[in-house]
Amino acid sequence: MSVDTRKTPMLELPVDAGFERQQEFIVELKESVKHAVGELFVDCSKVEQVTSTHVNILWRAYSICKDSGVRMILKNPTESVVRVLSILDLREMFLIDESNDYSKVSQEGTQKPQTLDNLLSMKIKLESSEIATGLKRVQEFLKSVPVTSACSVEIETIFYELATNVLLYSKLTSSDLLDCSVEVTKNRITMKFIDSGVLFDPSTAEIRYDPKSMISNYQKRGLGLVMIRRMADTISYERRDDGVNIVTVMKDWR
């Protein structure tokens, strides 16, 4: 099954937060989550008067997205929305995008990266040069985060090796896109890699690593997974029913 990884669904947070509209929104959200590849936008630009119901809706939406491995990003929230989330100490939980060109980017499938305060998200064509460009973006992004040099090296390496694995072994073509993100939260860096290639679980794939034997056998390959596994704190893999692979890598950075 071919999955279009370029379009990111966007829903509108209802101004009228009556019961029926709430239910409609949640139904709509659940449907969108099924088709979302990595992320989903909730447009909050029209909600000026924020009530507890709006917060409840956002909370439910966040939980549904999280359970499905989808990042929910609040698009253009009004000051009121941000203020209420801050007061309730929920601000850090939600990813917020205040730029104006997000919908355009998602519809056109451009490879322009989206950088929020704590999130780098990009769609990469499966070509070596694109991965190299992606690596540079990751390196640039990490400069704005107070992680140690060692942690930066590891995140960069994990990014490069996982993206290269998809390039080499997914059986996708250069017209396909790899959806990657690096998200920094208080203590943790979370990376997600989403593609629609063949099933491959980097968290359990067998690796045999013996440097001495590699040297004596002139072995030049097979180090990528070793590096990924040794550098990551946790790696999880999900193969969705629609043929999408989701690899999530976590690393504590404090």
């Binding site: 070596s128 040069s129 991965i131 190299a132 690596l135 140690t148 040099s149 060692a150 930066s152 090296v153 590891e154 960069e156 390496t157 490069y160 090796e161 290269t164 690593y209 440097p211 001495k212 590699m214 040297i215 004596s216 002139y218 072995q219 030049k220 390959r221 097979g222 180090l223 990528g224 070793v226 590096m227 040794r230 550098m231």
Partner: protein
């Protein structure tokens, strides 16, 4: 990548110096392998790889060295890595390679 050119310089009849660019990854690891195999065929015994500019090394980059070092050791020589940057040292440490590869550290820095 644009900064991926590998530079070679003959030191003497037995030794060749190689300077890596800023990256050693899929884009140029095959070139490194070709250079090392060619150097072996030309009779060079000792290879000194100057990594002072190397900011990023991928598994392919590490593999290009690991998979060819035995060619030189078999004839009594070696590949000697020098001027490793902290990020490259870190990768080698993660892979437990410091006991298996010959490293001369002129820029001995402890990674933050």
């Amino acid at each position: 990548m644009s900064d991926s050119k590998i530079i070679q310089q003959q030191v003497n009849d037995n030794s060749l110096r190689i300077k890596t660019p800023g990256v050693l990854d899929n884009s140029n690891a095959h070139e490194m392998i070709e250079i090392l195999i060619d150097a072996h065929k030309r009779g060079f015994v000792n290879i000194v790889i100057d990594m002072s500019d190397l900011g990023f090394i991928s598994s392919a980059g590490v593999g290009s060295i690991l998979g060819t070092v035995e060619l030189f050791r078999e004839v009594g020589g070696d590949i000697i890595l020098c001027n490793l940057t902290p990020s490259v040292v870190h990768v080698f440490e993660v892979l437990d390679l410091t006991d298996y590869l010959t490293v001369r550290s002129e820029l001995k820095e402890t990674i933050r």
